[in-house]
């Protein structure tokens, strides 16, 4: 069975084992409320992680997602406090913030051939600054964190039945993106770009276009997450989401999308985010020092990746052996 499937099953298995243990230790774990907030937490990161997965598939990286969240949130509160444009109109507009940021990243990456990491790091700083600049100020010029009351907007933080809307959107987005990646030419082109850019170009793929696309999509996802975050918190702060990129990367990596590009898919990321959320929630539940959390997460990342690398080497070794065996049998007949 393919590596990816196996590791995924193992991860899911672990997920339920840990979940089981937790529900034993802490009665409050398996309550509807807790599960729903756990999902809400996961979805919050997950939406961003989906976009980030595409970036990783092109063997790139996007450090600017956190700052995009901040800027988008600021754009929204500006609309809310200075205009009477209805939420359903300006929210789509504010989603363009992320797309624009992605465009910016894509431009510097493709046209100047600059390393993705440093470009997005730079735009991270720029966007963080912009967020502060455009933040809503009070009479004395101090940034005031607007308390959002627009019911439509707050609706995004709400639930359908017991399930938070963000969760539903997350799952929906996951389905769509997965479908998109597997069932459209653009999707396959993105995979090709990440796996072997030169080969892709030989086959007539415009790799630059793929790169532009993934960064714009990643920005879009971050913006989307920003809407839900601010709706849930009923406010928007210029430092929203900054620093959250590490969480996202962790989720995607645990989900099994490697940095080498060309492979990985959305389901892995979904599992990764759920797993991460579970760990965090669990550590809160156990009532042990919250500082264990980063240690555990850091540990998990290392273990998961090391195991991945090992397994990959192991599998390749097997197939090579198989081929060699065939060659040997052939030689025996041919060689003098």
């Amino acid at each position: 069975m393919p590596i990816s499937t196996l590791r995924r099953l193992i991860l899911i298995g672990l997920f339920f084992v840990i979940g089981g243990i937790l529900s034993f230790i802490s009665p409050s774990f398996l309550t509807q409320g807790n599960i729903m907030t756990l999902l809400q937490e996961a979805s919050q990161t997950g939406i961003v992680a989906i976009g980030f997965t595409l970036v990783l598939i092109t063997a790139g990286i996007d450090m600017s997602i956190g700052a995009v969240i901040a800027v988008t949130a600021m754009v929204c509160v500006n609309f809310l406090s200075y205009t009477h444009i209805p939420a359903l109109v300006f929210i789509p507009l504010s989603l363009l913030t992320g797309v624009a940021a992605g465009l910016f990243n894509g431009f510097f990456i493709t046209h100047f051939k600059l390393p993705e990491f440093i470009v997005t790091l730079a735009s991270r700083g720029i966007l963080a600054g912009v967020a502060l600049l455009i933040a809503v100020k009070d009479a004395d010029g101090f940034i005031s964190n607007v308390y959002i009351q627009d019911p439509v907007y707050l609706g995004f933080g709400g639930t359908v039945g017991p399930v938070y809307i963000v969760t539903i959107v997350f799952i929906g987005l996951a389905f769509l993106t997965q479908f998109f990646m597997k069932r459209t030419r653009t999707g396959t082109n993105i995979y090709a770009t990440g796996a072997n850019a030169t080969a892709a170009r030989l086959s007539g793929i415009n790799t630059d276009r793929s790169i532009y696309f993934v960064y714009m999509f990643s920005g879009f996802c971050a913006s989307l997450a920003a809407i839900f975050l601010s709706a849930r918190m009923m406010t928007a702060m210029p430092e929203f989401g900054i620093g959250s990129e590490m969480d996202v990367i962790a989720a995607v990596v645990i989900g099994g999308t490697p940095f080498t590009g060309g492979v990985g898919d959305i389901w892995g990321t979904v599992i990764g985010t759920l797993f991460l959320a579970l760990i965090k929630n669990g550590i809160l539940k156990l009532g042990i020092s919250p500082y264990i959390q980063p240690i555990v997460i850091g540990g998990i990342i290392v273990v998961v990746v090391v195991v991945d690398v090992w397994y990959k080497a192991f599998a390749e070794n097997l197939s090579k052996k198989a081929i060699d065996r065939r060659k040997r049998s052939v030689k025996a007949t041919v060689a003098p």
Binding site: F179, T188, A195, N196, A199, A200, L202, S203, G262, I323
Partner: protein, 510 residues
């Protein structure tokens, strides 16, 4: 009769193609034609102009003059890779250009995936079935849903071919396709080629393996020094003849150089029954001081693998090596300390550090000379670089220039130079003159001669027969990982070596 063949059933026509890379003329007035559904072998020694002709046909480079028709339509001087692809010319690259992590079907249909009529979504079901149909039509043991990563080289090659077929190519160019295949896999490939032929697809086949050329081709075009020296019809084809044509009159001219002689100087390297699974086996030879031991054989015959093992890059399974009389278990660092030098096969990938200055490139292998308790004396290093530069008169002679900015020849000189300035006992050289101009070649040859005169032993791996024969004092010919023949005395002709490497040996030595 093909000579009077109507234009219509000619797939590709090239007339008086001339190409010169600023200065040396690589192709002069080459006429070349292919019929539909024929397997046409293009043979010639390294540097005869084969690859240039291919590049021109596939639009990688543009010809200086001459005309080209494909399926009756003229192709202008301004030709491009993309254009040639859309025309239906496909190349099976040696460095395979498949997308890993994707299925066979995905690779076959990359950028032209079948989509639903209703919506612009890929119809995976249909894609797989189409792919499978294609595969089955040629009866490969492949599944459309196999992931590329799991396939053997041969299988990947077949996918490449299928890809060409799927893009409705009417001319498929294969450059040394069997170099990395086992003989059974090759046999398989020939089957495919025949089937392509039956489909009416032209196959332009480039190979050094005479027996292949002999079995497969309907016609053979022989290039020599950028001229089309002969086009042989099926019935005229025979390996010996082809080899003669490839080498031409140069036989007599160079005879003097070809005399081999056993050396009885002290033994520098004594290799006994060296074996490495699937690479080489039963390799035994002695290398004497001042000897230039040529290692011939076709690409993939295990030449490179052996020298790598001797230098200590790859491990070997069994056998023993004695260096200067002492048992020797090679690893790179100690090899260098012990007086080895190694000039690898792919300059850009293995030889040079393009971004780094000459001094840096030369310095890195001579740290043991330039260092004093962990510190590097920049002065000594610069001196070494200067010495190398003047020894090989590297141009430009400024040691600060990044090596990446030098010409191929001078890059190679840097690679050689960093060893030359050491007191070497044994220099291992793998394809030293690939892609460098005549002048630089000659200078390198003289250098090697000087070295051997100074008592340095040289192991020379080369596919360039004149080179191999004219420099070596003794030649081992490899075939499928074994030494098939040794030329230790008397006159050796390129013909002999070619025959040996193609397995056309009466009573092969050992």
């Amino acid at each position: 009769m093909s000579d009077q063949a109507a234009e219509s059933d000619l797939l590709l026509v090239c007339r008086t193609i001339t190409k010169s890379y600023n200065g040396p003329v690589v192709l002069s007035d080459v006429d070349f034609s292919m019929k539909r559904g024929e397997v046409h072998a293009l043979v010639g020694e390294n540097g005869a102009g084969k690859s240039t002709l291919i590049k021109i046909i596939t639009g990688v480079t543009n010809r200086n003059s001459g005309e080209m028709l494909f399926e009756g339509t003229a192709i202008g001087i301004e030709h491009s890779k993309v254009a040639s692809q859309s025309l239906g010319i496909a190349v099976i690259y040696q460095e395979l250009s498949l997308i890993h992590g994707m299925t066979v079907a995905q690779n076959l249909f990359l950028t032209k995936e079948p989509r639903f009529r209703a919506a612009p979504f890929i119809d995976i079901g249909r894609m797989n079935s189409l792919a499978q149909a294609l595969i089955d039509r040629y009866g490969f043991e492949l599944k459309a849903t196999d992931i590329i990563d799991g396939l053997s080289i041969a299988q990947r090659q077949t996918v490449e071919i299928l890809k060409a077929l799927n893009s409705r190519a009417s001319l498929i160019i294969m450059d040394e396709p069997t170099s990395s295949l086992t003989s059974s896999e090759s046999a398989q490939l020939f089957g495919i080629i025949r089937r392509l032929k039956a489909e009416g697809i032209g196959v332009l086949y480039i190979s050094h393996r005479m027996e292949e050329v002999y079995d497969l081709s309907d016609r053979v075009t022989v290039l020599r020094d950028g001229h089309n020296v002969a086009v042989l019809e099926k019935e005229q084809i025979n390996p010996a003849e082809i080899i003669r044509l490839m080498i031409g009159r140069r036989l007599e001219e160079r005879d003097a150089l070809h005399t081999m002689c056993r050396s009885n100087a002290e033994v520098v390297l004594d290799v006994r029954n060296l074996c490495s699974e699937n690479r080489f086996n039963g390799i035994s030879f002695q290398l004497h001081a001042g000897e230039i031991l040529g290692i011939g054989g076709l690409v993939g015959s295990g030449r490179t693998e052996i020298v790598r093992a001797l230098y200590g890059i790859d491990r070997f399974d069994s056998g023993s090596i004695a260096y200067l009389g002492k048992p020797w278990s090679p690893d790179v660092a100690s090899s260098i300390r012990g007086g080895f030098g190694f000039i690898p096969e792919e300059r850009r990938l293995q030889g040079i550090m393009g971004a780094i200055s000459m001094t840096g490139n030369i310095g890195i292998t001579n740290l043991d000379v330039t260092r004093r308790h962990g510190f590097v004396s920049a002065k000594k290093e610069l001196a070494l670089a200067r010495r190398a530069i003047e020894l090989l008169n590297i141009k430009p002679d400024n040691p600060d220039i990044p090596v990446g900015n030098l010409s191929g020849g001078n890059q190679q000189k840097v690679v050689v130079g960093k060893w030359l300035i050491r007191d070497l006992k044994l220099l291992i050289v793998d394809e030293p003159t690939v892609g460098i101009d005549i002048g630089a070649k000659e200078e390198l040859y003289q250098t090697f001669a000087r070295l051997s005169a100074a008592g340095v032993s040289i192991l020379l791996v080369s596919s360039d027969l004149p080179e191999l024969i004219s420099i070596s004092t003794r030649i081992l010919v490899l075939r499928q990982g074994c030494i098939i023949q040794e030329f230790a005395d008397g006159i050796v002709t390129e013909e002999d070596v070619l025959r040996a490497s193609s397995g056309l040996v009466e009573g092969a030595v050992r």
